[in-house]
Amino acid sequence: MKSTFGDKLFYAFNYAVLTLIGLSCLFPLLHIVALSLSEAHAVDSGRVSVVPVGWATASYKALFDNTRILPAFWNSLEITVVGTALSMAATVLTAYPLSRAFFYGRRPLTLAMVFTMLFGSGLIPNYLVMSQYGLINSYWVLWLPALINTFNVLVMRTFFEGIPGEIEEAARIDGCGEWTHLFRVVLPLSLPVLATITLFNAVGFWNAFMNVLIYINETRKYNLTVLVQQMIRRDSILAGVMSADPGDIANVTNEGIKAAGIMVMIVPMLLIYPFLQKYFVKGVMLGAVKG
């Protein structure tokens, strides 16, 4: 097939626009990297674009020495690891019975769960109930209400249902009970869906913001999102932060420290991005299987 002039024009246009779109995603990241590593005078005058002007790690030094970023990082990690583990256990245990055809009551139970996706209680009733349970200022307030996500349960249930019946029959003849069946047959066959939902949950807990803002009042328990967000919105981090060593003030800027703070949040995400890309793309499709 010969391509016509019009088609060539189309392809040229297509590649050009896609290149621009790709760069629009790349540029801001490089810019933040550059800001975090540039010398103070260049940052202040707005001359930094995607390549660091000079080379200065003073912003990172100021960030790690003078803010609570490191504890916040560990807090984020704790919130993510514990929350994801709890949530995965609960999701599997809820999805598995629903995938069993002879589980009596699975239809009304599913409907009762789906209803909660459509009609929630809202911010304030939740807040009052969480205080009633005595969960304020404890990470349990992040973990427990997010224990089970109905959508994830439905996705997982659908996947479990898709496991061929013959495998199950064979297991049944071998005298395999429901628990053994779940752990020895179903879960090993469900690694893709487990990986996907684990990553869903982990990203959710890592990025948790509003719940931490509302329920966690002790500064030392802040996670990265809340800590960095407060830094970003403050005009003068320097005043509070740099009291220790006035000699350093000349070498750092507010914008540089903010950029370094943003970098601390970006880097872990970049590290797991290959896995995210692999499984999230699948995950989007998993939800659509039964559409």
Partner: protein, 317 residues
Amino acid sequence: MGVHATGTEPAAPKARRRGGGIGAIRRSVPLYIMFVPGVVFYLLFKYYPLGGLVIAFKDYNMYDGILKSPWVGLDNFRMLFNQAQTVQIIGNTLLLSVLGIAIGFPVPILLAVMLNEVRRTWFKRFVQTLVYLPHFFSWVIVSGIVLEMFSQESGIINHWVAGVFGEPYPFLYKPLSWLAVFIGSGVWKEMGFSAIIYLAALTAIDPHLYESASIDGASKWKQIRHVSIPGIMPTIALLLILQVGKVMDVGFDPVYMLSNESVSSVANVISTYNYSVGIQRAQFSLTTAMGLFENAVGFVLVTFANRIGRRFNQQLW
């Protein structure tokens, strides 16, 4: 997240084969044990808080708690809708949401169609890798980048603007430009990821259709208009319905993080109102009334959307 098209219909054939009765119930015992945490969770964290909604009809005070606070009927709603502010807040919520859909909805479709026409795999993968990434960033990262770049004193955008026009422009402090920045950041964050679903729909189109179109002399543009777009129309319709169902739901994070006092005339929305008046100023009953209103409208919209979806055989439940 994606298409919430997971049907809730059980896969019936298995059930019939195995039959019900006492045996089934006995075999179900371990299943009920597994299900206990789920039941406890839904009761404690989903259904019990629903009961808390009654304070929308009460004058809540800490001392009496949810149950004993006095009933006031519809007073909270009357007070709410007598405030000029309330109408503005609901209006802003709809404004941000509708603008977000009007601009944010077509972009991923275009992006997917364009990516679908790329024949060089490395280029396609490269662009995909870049455009999917912002989806995984929290709004703290995205708002941080936006605030750094658009900052009036030291932001790079204003460095350019000042270079061209002589002086910087306060993008974040004028309602119109703020709207553009707000909508733009949302589109930037989600366009790539939302395109995935369309890309999948596009790959499901029979390649023969393109071949015959091409043999008939259809140009690339025509193939897109007459093969690609019609081929993904059901997906487009379904996702649009879903969007309409969520029109009252403007996320808290982006508005809270990007807005400031100067733009409150467009940036004050239901979620931020409930936070600042409810949580920060402890006006629990008033904001619960606002929340209940929001949820009720949302529920009606989603149910309505599902009705329409059913007509296309694309319902959610």
